[in-house]
């Protein structure tokens, strides 16, 4: 009976992934996955609920309620933090389970190594994710890479140290501590704009930790579900790295953009006013909006929607061009736009829209910088050279809504800002848009 439940659960998990492939069916995927999870958890009890005391049930109920509460309260701009936190919980849970199994010291040798692996990955994921969340909240600045380099250099002797000791239990806690420190240091040196890669990578690790926990307790469903999460995280990690033309190792090394601060311009940018932007837009036939992290910071998505409605009422075509690493996690911009009811059919990926810029009347760059920097195409010495960018500089006119001329994450100047076809509207993303909308009423 249990076997049949588990079989149904596995099949449901895989079907859920299949349904996730299209926005129109994805909400059903969630229902499928929930059902699969319920069956899998139920099967673990093996129809015998007498082995569990009240502390067990209270923990489940309280944390379940807390989960509901968090999920209802969280704002869509905070999704990167939430996903980061959940990565940490998933990894921490698997790591803790591995630790408990290791403490029992009755494990066969093969399971012993899997359990060590699960504990190390789980604890690394836990502490790394907590640091990632702190960074996303702006509570932690970049740490100098030398600390990480020193730690990495001393890691091999540190790992071999317990071999000299005799006590086995002590070395277990020692390894746990080492993994926790490794997680903290590794993520602490990575900058904010690399967070999409970090979050996706830790997501993958939380799945791998769960999968290896499945090996220890001999649960096939745990292995399957863990493997699915691991695969999902790896795919997203590689997609994000490709979108920056960097390797995972290069991202994890940290310190990107901290060296080459070069923010010099040969000439002054042309600055514009909300009124002029409104006039410019009202003469356009096609508009592409390029959102970036600045839109999330300013919570400007409602203003974006309002401007979109205004333009569409005037029969102006509006599209959204979303770079894969825009924001702080994969798909971040899409969720913010979906939140304000912007049709996902109007959201375009880099590959789909790049050929359209040259025939577009006005492009609005909203809080994005490096992902529209033409140096990625032209300057071989630039740290972002070779990175696929949105070719907004090819459009007829570009309006950049940005608070100042400050450089983006890569720490380099952006010649787009002084391009002949570009104008700067110096404003916070939300305020800038609201002023443009207001000006429309006067046009």
């Amino acid at each position: 009976m249990i076997e049949i439940i588990l079989l149904v659960s596995s099949v449901l998990f895989i079907f859920a992934l299949k349904l996730f492939g299209r926005p129109s069916t994805a909400h059903r995927a969630n229902t499928f996955a929930m059902l699969a999870m319920a069956l899998a958890v139920f099967s673990a009890f093996n129809f015998d609920f007498s082995n569990y005391d009240s502390a067990f049930y209270i923990t489940i109920i309280v944390s379940g309620l807390l989960g509901v509460l968090i999920s209802k309260r969280v704002q869509m701009t905070q999704m990167p933090e939430l996903v980061g936190l959940f990565n940490g919980f998933g990894g921490g849970a698997s790591g803790a389970i591995a630790y408990v199994e290791l403490s029992k010291s009755t494990l066969p040798l093969s399971d012993y190594f899997v359990a060590i692996f699960s504990m190390v990955i789980g604890m690394f994921t836990f502490s790394g994710s907590i640091v990632a969340v702190l960074k996303l909240r702006g509570k932690l600045n970049n740490v100098n890479t030398t600390i990480a380099n020193i730690f990495s250099a001393f890691l091999p002797p540190l790992i071999l140290l317990p071999a000299i000791w005799e006590s086995e239990i002590l070395s277990l806690e020692y390894f746990m501590l080492l993994s926790l420190i490794a997680g903290i240091i590794r993520v602490a040196v990575i900058g904010g704009a690399d967070m999409p890669v970090v979050i996706a990578f830790l997501n993958s690790l939380s799945g791998i930790a769960a999968m290896s926990a499945g090996f220890i307790v001999n649960s096939i469903i745990l292995i399957i579900a863990g493997a699915l999460v691991g695969a999902s995280g790896i795919i997203l990690t590689l997609l994000m790295c490709a979108a920056m033309n960097r390797t995972l190792l290069d991202v994890l090394k940290g310190g990107f953009g901290s060296k080459s601060i070069n923010n010099e311009y040969d000439k002054d940018p042309i600055s514009t006013s909300p009124e002029d932007v409104a006039i410019q837009l009202s003469y356009a036939e096609s508009v592409i909006i390029v959102p970036g992290y600045g839109m999330a910071v300013a919570q400007a998505q409602s203003a974006v929607k309002e401007l979109t409605n205004t333009l569409k009422d005037k029969n102006i075509e509006v599209k959204f061009a979303i770079h894969p690493v825009a924001g702080r996690m994969p798909g971040h911009m899409n969720v913010l736009l979906a939140e304000v009811d912007i049709d996902y059919e109007d959201m375009y990926t880099l590959e789909d829209i790049n050929s359209e810029f040259s025939s577009t009347d006005v492009v609005i760059v909203l809080g994005a910088n490096d992902v529209v920097n033409p140096l990625a195409r032209t300057d071989e010495d630039s740290p972002i050279y070779g990175m696929p960018i949105l070719d907004v500089d090819l459009a007829k006119q570009v309006i950049v809504i940005k608070r100042s001329m400050s450089p983006g994450y890569a720490g380099i100047s952006n010649p787009l800002f002084i391009n002949d076809n570009a104008k700067m509207l110096f404003a916070d993303a939300k305020e800038g848009l609201e002023k443009i909308i207001k000006s429309f009423e006067l046009v």
Binding site: L17, K18, G64, G67, N87, V100, S219, I224, L228, V229
Partner: protein
């Protein structure tokens, strides 16, 4: 479900392969709900916690550690699915 180690490895490989193939087809628009959904699924480690909980024995420390794992995993499952549902609802109505 008892299985030999090799068979288990085979299942691991197949699950990873199917996962890789299916997830590669998921559009960029859905990458955030994909991550929050996989957060929920990584809470599946709750199963391991349920399996080992009755065997922890007398040690209060180990018991608390398992209970912590249970709390983390449950938070992931419930919170993860709930927030994923919320996001996917936003994509649904636009269809």
């Amino acid at each position: 479900m008892e299985a030999t180690f090799l068979l288990t490895l085979l299942i691991t490989f197949l699950a990873s392969f199917i996962g890789y193939e299916l997830i590669s087809k998921i559009p960029q628009t859905l990458h955030t709900p994909l991550m929050s959904g996989s957060n929920a699924i990584s809470g599946v480690t709750l199963i391991a916690a349920i399996l080992i909980y009755p065997e922890v024995g007398e040690s209060q420390v180990l018991k608390i550690i398992v209970l912590t794992a249970i709390a983390f995993a449950t938070l992931n499952i419930v919170g993860g699915f709930s927030v994923t549902g919320r996001i996917l609802e936003m994509f649904k109505k636009n269809d």
